[in-house]
Symmetry: C2
Subunit: 548 residues, 2 copies
């Protein structure tokens, strides 16, 4: 007779080992290293949360201190590789294999460790893809998660930063894994139940809040006039004609400029109520003025943003909030919304090649993807029509049978032809290809593929790739907005002019935009302080953004 | 000063109106109609659950009885339109607009009501797409949901049929809507908390279980030898060469035959452990023998299946189960898994056109989509490689730069050239197009688009559309497996022979399969009773499937 409860018995053994070092479900902080050594087994699949924003930092530090003779060769399956400890465990052999999504601040070190063979790479995923695998072939055996507080039974309150937690816990707990939560405090009653106690096995009282990075804050003071010009081009050349109401903005100064131009330039164009009403978005502080002036109907958030908590609590009609009054974010649902319910994704990138493939890899960095591949892809399972989606589909295939012609999601790359450190955004060959060679990867880490990109916006104009009828037109449309980069200078001038006549390329003047009008006075807020004032003092910027 | 809490105040007013007819959170069944009249407002967006399997039937019946002078013009946003009451409310004017996913048993009536103007159609969605819109532009103002039991605080136990409930509740409750649950009983303590009490506003004690339909049960006795042949072709011609481990099976006798052939034919081919190990799948009874003989490592389920509850409880290593021992299903996560973590979707259809577009529309029926558009689409946001996915990508684009070439999901349509009532599966023009004309739809209701389909399997052979290099080859590959249908007879015989030489088309003999071997003796179970015996008596088939 086969034993059909091996996983359950394995968890029971871990529970018993853990309980020897716990009081009920509660593990004391000083016992944490011994506790982890008691409940972890070599080779375990472990999710150390590890989000894009919030971090189970106390659990990460403790995991880095376990004895590698006892706990080794872990397979880490987590969305964010962000803290030094997330990589330290690979140096010491505690962990060996890695499947992840995003590694922003650790992108250089993670690459070095991969080159050096310290990390065995499974794959780099977009968030929703990694979550999907939690339910199929990467189900965690142990989840180390973070919450704001717990009650004595183990009910968890995640507060505004709910993020990945419900997804990780659901896969782990019902998959017969062990769920261990670090919390800032243990209380009699949690303000709301984000994770029910029966899904949580142990709680560690860290006695301080988990670490959160203000990843989505952009200071309006740093926005350039070139970025303002690209924002004007996007609003007048794309948002207006397509009538985009449901959208996601990637992070960056170009999209921040768009947000800050809605109540000025957007208002002047008569777009209020016609575009940008429904969002899948992190709570960008730069969207505050547009919210305050009535542009926005609803926002669903992937995560929270440091300093935005009170503002969101005071705007419950706009944000999804709980009975406690604070934001309920959810990365899995917001990514799903970005995939299937939004008509546009617009984001910046560091490199675009002649086919329109884009990547944020430059030099030897493995930065991961985050949500861009998911939101920057055409959702081919989508079946509901909308005006912008149908128009984009018609542009791509004007002769197709209408009832059999699908629409297209608008996927827009926006940036200056020369970016930070004067690096050209347009390249003949992506650096991602060199990285794939060096690491012997099956796939180069391409963020958004050219066949999903519909438009490219630079200060030189808007290229509409939907209107290109072949590979050559596409290449020239890209070269045609690539400015003085090498790629731009190598354009076929006659072909680019023909593309312009067909409105495949639109220059600022074609859209009635005078580049000299691209002035910082167009920004409805020109500093973090302006944003704070616009919020009526509800937005509380982190100290690093305060210079007054 | 703008009021930023209009939604919250609106909910508060409904809560107060509702509490007058409730005792705490509990509404008595006899007060239900008056209660709904008190908390609903004309024009409300309402999700009446309304899943693919389970139904909030008591709430549906009560909603159909409210006074249309008080409650009218509701906008229903629910995945399943299944019960008569789901449509009755449109006859009486209680509801007016509909956004949905699936309408199996009501497909003829729903079409008649659309023709007659009784229903204003928003759109037909795939499940995950509708869920996505719950967080963007179709957030329910009231959710009428179903659970097994509740405690007095309002914590809900959904049991094996968790399905859509957590997704609907999250969008509604945090979106400031009202959540009303029908439960079979009110208990002191729920066996596990599927929905925390603070997300639930009212509970109705229906004093009996909610209605569930055994939608995924197929009687092996009804499987034909032609279906067995298509199953052999799929296993030897596709599962084996691609090495498909992570997959989803649509419902139907063809896929049931595959499931029943794994322990016999599959075992003989040496495929055990090499294919079909990880599933996103409803608990198909026909998979029991494969599970019992050790083929399956793990299954994540969209919903439950009537009669499978005890079997799943006894197989916790295979299924996701909770601390109460019973299945935890979750349609949103399982659809996400089907999209991003599976390498294959295989399902049946009723019509395929010359471009490979397929539809289940025949005559005047609006059946909806269910999960097929989502799982039967190439997930372009996917970034993790796997052997089957890479191989499919290489076949589609053999000359592409390897590191820039994405893989492809295997999307397979399987069926007999002539289906029920001798209707040809292959058609020049989909009936879906006529329906789009009649209803003036922007999009014909196509289930899976031709550009996402990779293979078609019939008794005549396997067509590999990945290997087709143009539209003509694709058309002839489809005609080449279309048998004696008109589409099949109009094939270009020379071209079809050339495609066969290139293995674009593979006949049974090309794969070493003798159609005479396609015998019912290959089925590891030949009746529902055999399935029950294979489960050791744990599977308890519903009475309609018992004929002994």
């Amino acid at each position: 007779m086969r034993d059909w409860n091996m996983k359950g018995r394995d968890r029971q053994a871990r529970l018993e080992a853990g309980r020897r070092l716990a009081s009920g479900k509660v593990v004391a902080a000083q016992d944490l290293v011994a506790f982890l050594e008691a409940v972890l087994r070599p080779g375990d699949r472990v999710c150390l949360e590890g989000d894009n924003q919030k971090q189970a930092d106390v659990l990460a530090k403790a995991l880095a201190k376990v004895d590698p003779a006892k706990v080794h060769d872990l397979h880490m399956v987590q969305s964010g590789v962000v803290l030094p400890e997330h990589l330290d465990i690979f140096e010491t052999g505690i962990a060996r294999r890695l499947d992840f999504s995003y590694s922003g601040p650790q992108s250089a070190r993670i690459a070095r460790m991969m080159f050096g063979g310290r990390i065995e790479l499974g794959a780099v995923h977009t968030y929703l893809e990694l979550f999907a695998r939690y339910f199929i072939d990467l189900t965690p055996q142990v989840a180390l998660i973070a919450a704001v507080s717990a009650d004595r039974a183990g009910n968890l309150y995640t507060g505004p930063n709910t993020e990945d937690t419900p997804t990780v816990v659901e896969a782990t707990s019902f998959g017969k894994g062990l769920v261990i939560a670090q919390v800032g405090e243990i209380v009699d009653q949690v303000p709301r139940v984000d994770i029910p106690a029966d899904q949580v096995h142990f709680v560690v009282n860290a006695q301080r809040p988990f670490y959160v990075e203000p990843l989505f804050t952009r200071d309006p003071a740093a926005i350039t006039e070139t970025q303002i010009l690209t924002a004007m081009l996007a609003i007048k050349g794309l948002y207006a004609p397509y009538g985009v109401r449901r959208l996601n903005h990637g992070i960056g100064f170009n999209t921040a400029a768009i947000e800050l131009l809605l109540p000025t330039y957007g208002e002047r164009l008569g777009l209020k109520g016609k575009v940008c009403t429904h969002w899948a978005l992190n709570p960008h502080p730069t969207l505050i003025p547009a919210i305050e002036s009535g542009w926005v109907e609803q926002i669903h958030c992937f995560g929270s943003e440091v300093g935005m908590e009170d503002y969101m609590r005071a705007r419950p009609d706009i944000f999804f909030t709980g009975p406690d009054g604070s934001l309920r974010s959810n990365r899995a649902f917001c990514q799903t919304a970005g995939l299937y319910a939004c008509d546009m994704f617009i984001g910046s990138t560091l490199q675009i090649d002649l086919a329109g493939n884009s990547s944020t890899i430059t030099g030897s960095r493995v930065a991961g993807f985050g949500g861009a591949p998911n939101m920057g892809s055409d959702a081919r399972g989508r079946r509901h029509p909308s005006a912008p989606w149908l128009r984009a589909g018609q542009e791509a295939d004007p002769t197709g049978a209408p009832a059999l012609r699908r629409g297209r999601k608008l996927v827009i790359q926006i940036g200056e032809t020369f970016g930070d450190g004067n690096a050209p955004m347009f390249v003949e060959r992506l650096s991602a290809l060199d990285l794939a060679d060096k690491l012997d990867l099956d796939l180069a880490p391409v963020m958004v593929y050219g066949d999903d990109v519909t438009h490219i916006v630079t200060e030189e104009g808007v290229a509409n790739l939907l209107l290109c009828r072949d590979k050559d037109e596409r290449e020239q449309a890209i070269r045609g907005v690539a400015g003085y980069t090498e790629v731009g200078r190598a354009r076929d001038r006659k072909m680019v002019e023909r593309l312009r006549e067909r409105k495949v390329i639109q220059r600022p003047e074609d859209l009635g935009i005078d580049p000299l009008d691209a002035d910082r006075s167009l920004l409805v807020a020109r500093s973090i302080k302006d944003l704070m004032i616009a919020s009526g003092g509800l937005y509380r910027p982190p100290s690093r953004f305060r210079n007054w």
